[in-house]
Amino acid sequence: MRFREYYIESRLHSTFLISGKLVRFSFFLIFIIALLTKTENLAGFGLYQTILFFMTFNLIDITSQFLFRGAYSIQWNINKGQFDLSLTQPINVLFRMAFDIIDLLDLATLLPVLAVLGFVIARLSSQVTFSGFLLYLLLCLNALLIAMAIHIFIISFSILTQEISSEIWIYRDLMNMGRFPIDIYSKSVQMVLTFLLPIAVMVTFPTKVLLGVLSWQWIMLSFFIGAIFIFLSLKFWKFALKNYSSVSS
C-alpha cells in the first residue's frame, strides 16, 4: 500500500484539501440543523436522528474513500502499463489495484465525523441498545463490503473500457443521495436505492438499526445483498481479467 506521498509532502495543498472537505461537511451540518430547527422532523425523524443519518453517511463515504482511493487511478495504471506490471508480480492484482493508495487526508476528515457521531449517539442514548450498536457496527462493515464490491465493479469496467472517471463519479453522486434518510424519496426511488444500487443498505439501514426501527428481516436482507454484491463483483472482475488486452506501450 502506498500513502499519498504527494499530499504529505505538499502541506499547503493538504491543508486546503482538508479545509475544503471540512467546509462541505460543516455547511451540510449547519443546513440540516437549520432545516430541522424549523420543521422539527424530516420523514418522521427528529434533529439528532437526521444528523445520525448524515454522520453515518460520512462515516461510510469517507472510510470507503480512505480505503479504496486506488480505484481512482486505475485508468492511469492501465495506460501507463502499471497494471500489466502488477499482473506479472506475485501479489493479488485486485488487492493491489483497490488498496494501492491509502488517502490519509480522508482519515483526517474522519476525526471530526467520529466526534460528532459520538456526540449524537450519546444524545440518543435512550433509543440506543447494546445489541443495536453491535448490529450498527456490523451493518457499517457490510456497507464497506458493498462499497468494495462497487469499486471492484468500477475497476473491472475500467479494465474492459480503459475509462474510469465517469463511473466513479456516478457512484459518488449516488452515494450523496444517502446524506438524508431514504424515506424522503418516492417508493420507486427507494426500491432502486435498496436493491439495485444499495445506498440505502449502506447508509440508511445501519442508522435505522441503531435507532431500533429496522426489522430483523431487513437486517438479514442487508447482509444477503452485501454477499450478493461481493460475489457478483468478483465474478465480473474475473470476466474483465479474461477479456483484458493491454493498451499501454
Binding site: V23, E163, S166, L174
Partner: protein, 265 residues
C-alpha cells in the same frame, strides 16, 4: 474576431472528443436535483411556507440554481494554473496573436453555452417526469434584470477563477486551493439551498462577500423576491464587485508575470 471563432470551434470539438464522459459529466446534476426535489417536497409536507419561500418557489429555486450554476459556475480558468506550471506551455501563448484573457473567455463561453444547452434539456425532461411547474416572474423587469445579473455573475466568476489560478505563478500546489474556493463559493452562492436557510449571522457574513451575487441574488430577482429598486441596487453592487475583482486580478497577474520563468520546451 475570426481567430476567436476558430478557438471556439476547436474548444467545442475538444469538449466532444470523449462524448461518453462529457454526457455523464453533464448528467451528474440529475441525482442532485432528485435529492433536493424530494428533500424539499418532504419538508413542505408539514409547512406552507418556510424561510420566506413557498414550496413552488423553493422547487423553482432548486431547478433554476442548477441551470444558472451550469452557466455561471462553469469555467475553464482552473486550467490556467496547470499551464503556468507545465513546462513552457504558458510561454507559448505570449507568442500567439491572441489576448490571453480573451482566449480563456472564449473557451469559457463555449463551456458555458454547451453546458447550458444540456442542463436545459435535462431539467426540461425532469420537470415533465416529476410534473413540476416552475414559478415564472410576473414583471418583465425581473426577467431582464435576471439576465443582466447572470451576465455580470459570469464575469465575476471568470475573474475569480483567474485570480485563484494566478497562485500558479508562485506555487505548484494550486489544486487544493481551487478545491477549497469552489466549495466555499458553491455554498455561499446558494448552489444547494438559498442562503436564507442559514443562521442570520452567517447570512450577514456571506452577504458581505461577492459570492451571493453569483446565484442567490440573480435567482431572487427572478422569483420576484426583490423589488425593482432592490434589484438595481443588487446589480450595482455586483458591478462594483466585478470591478474590484478585475482590478485585483490584473494587479496580481502583472506581479506574477514578473516572476514567471519559462522552463521546459
Amino acid at each position: 474576431m475570426i481567430k476567436y471563432l476558430a478557438i471556439a470551434r476547436i474548444t467545442f470539438a475538444n469538449l466532444l472528443q470523449y462524448r461518453w464522459d462529457f454526457l455523464i459529466s453533464q448528467s451528474r446534476i440529475i441525482l442532485l436535483l432528485i435529492t433536493l426535489y424530494f428533500l424539499w417536497t418532504q419538508v413542505f409536507k408539514a409547512k406552507a411556507t418556510l424561510f420566506n419561500f413557498s414550496q413552488a418557489q423553493i422547487i423553482t429555486y432548486v431547478f433554476l440554481a442548477s441551470i444558472v450554476r451550469q452557466f455561471v459556475l462553469i469555467s475553464a480558468t482552473d486550467q490556467i494554473a496547470q499551464e503556468l506550471q507545465s513546462g513552457g506551455k504558458f510561454f507559448s501563448y505570449l507568442l500567439r496573436p491572441v489576448g490571453y484573457f480573451r482566449f480563456w473567455f472564449t473557451v469559457d463561453l463555449v463551456y458555458k453555452i454547451t453546458s447550458l444547452i444540456f442542463i436545459i434539456l435535462i431539467t426540461s425532461v425532469m420537470l415533465n417526469i416529476l410534473n413540476i411547474t416552475l414559478t415564472w416572474p410576473t414583471e418583465v423587469f425581473s426577467t431582464l434584470l435576471f439576465l443582466v445579473s447572470i451576465f455580470i455573475a459570469s464575469l465575476i466568476y471568470f475573474y475569480i477563477g483567474i485570480l485563484v489560478s494566478t497562485t500558479g505563478f508562485w506555487t505548484s500546489q494550486v489544486w487544493g486551493l481551487q478545491f477549497l474556493v469552489v466549495l466555499i463559493l458553491e455554498f455561499c452562492a446558494g448552489s444547494y439551498f438559498p442562503i436564507d436557510v442559514l443562521p442570520a449571522n452567517l447570512q450577514s457574513i456571506i452577504k458581505l462577500t461577492p459570492f451571493p451575487y453569483l446565484l442567490y441574488y440573480p435567482i431572487s430577482i427572478f422569483l420576484g423576491k426583490l423589488s425593482l429598486v432592490e434589484s438595481i441596487k443588487v446589480i450595482t453592487i455586483a458591478v462594483l464587485w466585478l470591478a474590484a475583482i478585475f482590478i485585483i486580478t490584473k494587479f496580481i497577474w502583472n506581479k506574477g508575470l514578473k516572476v514567471y520563468e519559462a522552463w521546459g520546451g
